[in-house]
Symmetry: C2
Subunit: 350 residues, 2 copies
DNA sequence: ATGAAAGCGCTAACAC
DNA sequence: GTGTTAGCGCTTTCAT
């Protein structure tokens, strides 16, 4: 039984416009009238039709979010942050999972575009030009990705990596492995960048492997390669991979952290409770989601041409737990190991 | 640059109504005309305004889902299933997390109601009357909850528990503990029901503890109680709790499965990769999400008064891994242990 | 097969 | 302050 604004108007003995004004809490409505309207609306259980409102105002009261893989707890963290902040701001949220497909990322944003005031995009795979095209279709905020002219919130992955290297160097490690996540993902590039810079400063050698799927299985695959390379520490692209590494290392009877140190990124819930608890770089997932909503909502209605798009950097920090320890005084096999594993080594910089 | 149906009409030299007909693929449009319209629409990049469509048709092309706790991977599984099936059917999905609050569950559904054609509700906490009220506001499909007149998909938790008990009994266990999840959650009640029935049939004694939060912490809290009760096996309400139990047992130097068997419910990804891998009852999370979408979409537009609401039961099955083993031949402390732990025992049936 | 007109429920000018 | 009017973009009778 859909009750319209006219039903309320009739019951309150005013016109529809007055009802509209009274409910928008906007000015120019006498107190007694407003009370009458509000009472009528409540009695009738009136709920404005959002389609009609949106048709005329052009705003929808909705935002969208698209993530590459919801089964990664990193993104469920982001989604929770987004949803709670959006709800607090009176917005409903459309959700979509692109399943790590660049064209799906684009298609999903497009399909949301007409029903939202903006969308938060976690799109590691879409190209810059795809994203630019999307930015002209609806208002975007990027998460962990930078693109000029588009607002973004990003987490200081490079800084996190610096903390990792400082930690490892202080523990006496001389040579470590980095297990790459998706090759072109901004987060992966940033982590590599931080790695190069910090490792050079600390005179710490490193080898790289990958890219791997940023999942548990990717980690187990990578573990053997890293192990063969004679390093004393392994830095994984993320916690899921680090967990895979831990699992494989246990299978292969390599003691962690005594024989091998392991570090992850994200600080998933599970990193804290696995055995041994994982040393990892905490990424502010929920805070990132909230910040993205704030940025998005702030930018809605703002024509940002010319102006620099606002963006927000969130800091990260290393959580030292039980998978890192001083380097073992084993035979320094470093010099005999190949510079890159037999697997898929990354050779090109970008 | 919003392009309307009139822009398309003008360019195709037809009326707006013809454009509408051509795009709805509906009848009575000459082939050549339709081609012209379609071409014009494509050239202009025309996208119908969903608000306008919805205003007139009454359908939105959206569905909603509300879950109690997205950080529980069970619900992210459901959400993934829902989203992928909805997308395949051309529907967009609104998402909301009620954070385990009954009134939020209701409020969220209400706030979605006007913008969706129906909503999938995972609401363990809302009361029957709240749910009935919601059912009159929009079309609902329940997940793992039953309410007469409301379509539902539910997973055979009791059957899963039967498999657990059969397994444990076959391994020679005589006495086990069940760690309750939320007291009134349908899934918890079903698991208890299955437990009572199967345990009686197998002449297997059991004690209950809880309710506990269905999370890791709940499991660690529960572990000590179960341990003190002299059982040889612990059945946790879900995997998250089972993982907590495992962690606490490890801390307390209790060998799993040699001294204590542990079983969970859900079969989260992590159950397969933790150490030791967890024996657990697989719940079809994504399939549940998909089935819920199917049911919801089938029921949209159907006035179901009188007719029995359709529902769908999904079967579950036990995945035996490494946390269950034959009962140890320890001193049978069973008779000395209290029937319920010193903690919060459940005493009332329902 | 196509066009004209009406109207979905609402808000925003514009009068008074 | 409040009512009247005019649409927002679209679909759907009803003519033709």
């Amino acid at each position: 039984v859909p009750v319209t604004i006219h039903d309320v108007a009739r019951r309150a003995k005013v016109s529809a416009s007055t009802v509209s004004r009274a409910l928008s809490a906007s000015h120019h409505v006498r107190g007694t009238t407003r009370d009458r309207v509000l009472a009528a609306a409540r009695e009738l259980g009136y709920q404005p039709n959002p389609a009609a409102q949106s048709l005329i105002t052009g705003k929808t009261g909705n935002i969208g979010i698209v993530v590459p893989d919801l089964s990664n707890p990193f993104y469920t963290g982001v989604l929770r942050g987004v949803q709670s902040r959006a709800r607090a701001a009176g917005y409903a949220v459309f959700f979509a999972d692109s399943e790590e497909d660049a064209s799906a990322e684009e298609a999903l944003v497009r399909s949301m575009a007409r029903q939202v005031d903006g969308v938060i995009v976690c799109a590691p795979f879409a190209s810059d030009s795809q994203l630019n095209a999307l930015a002209s279709v609806t208002s975007l905020t990027l998460l962990n990705r930078r693109l000029r002219g588009v607002p973004a919130v990003y987490m200081d992955s490079a800084g996190g990596m610096k903390q990792v290297i400082d930690h490892l160097a202080a523990l006496g490690h001389h040579r470590c492995a980095y297990l790459n996540g998706p090759h072109n993902a901004w987060s992966n590039r940033e982590r590599r960048r931080g790695l190069r810079a910090a490792a050079a400063r600390r005179h710490l050698a490193f080898v790289e492997f990958g890219p791997f799927e940023p999942k548990f299985e990717g980690g187990v695959q990578a573990a053997d390669l890293a192990l063969a390379s004679g390093v004393s520490a392994i830095i994984a692209y993320n916690d899921l991979m680090a967990l895979g590494v831990l699992s494989r290392l246990a299978d292969r009877q390599v003691a962690v952290p005594d024989e091998m140190s392991v570090v992850g990124f994200d600080n998933l819930l599970y990193a804290a409770v696995c055995a041994p608890p994982l040393t990892t770089v905490a990424m502010p997932m929920e805070a990132g989601g909230r910040a993205a909503v704030d940025l998005l909502l702030a930018g809605v209605g703002t024509t940002e041409d010319g102006n620099t798009a606002p963006s927000r950097e969130l800091s990260t920090n290393l959580i030292v737990r039980a998978t890192t320890a001083p380097a073992a005084n084993r035979s320094p096999a470093a010099s005999t190991a190949p510079p890159s594993g037999p697997g898929k080594g990354i050779d090109n910089d970008d």
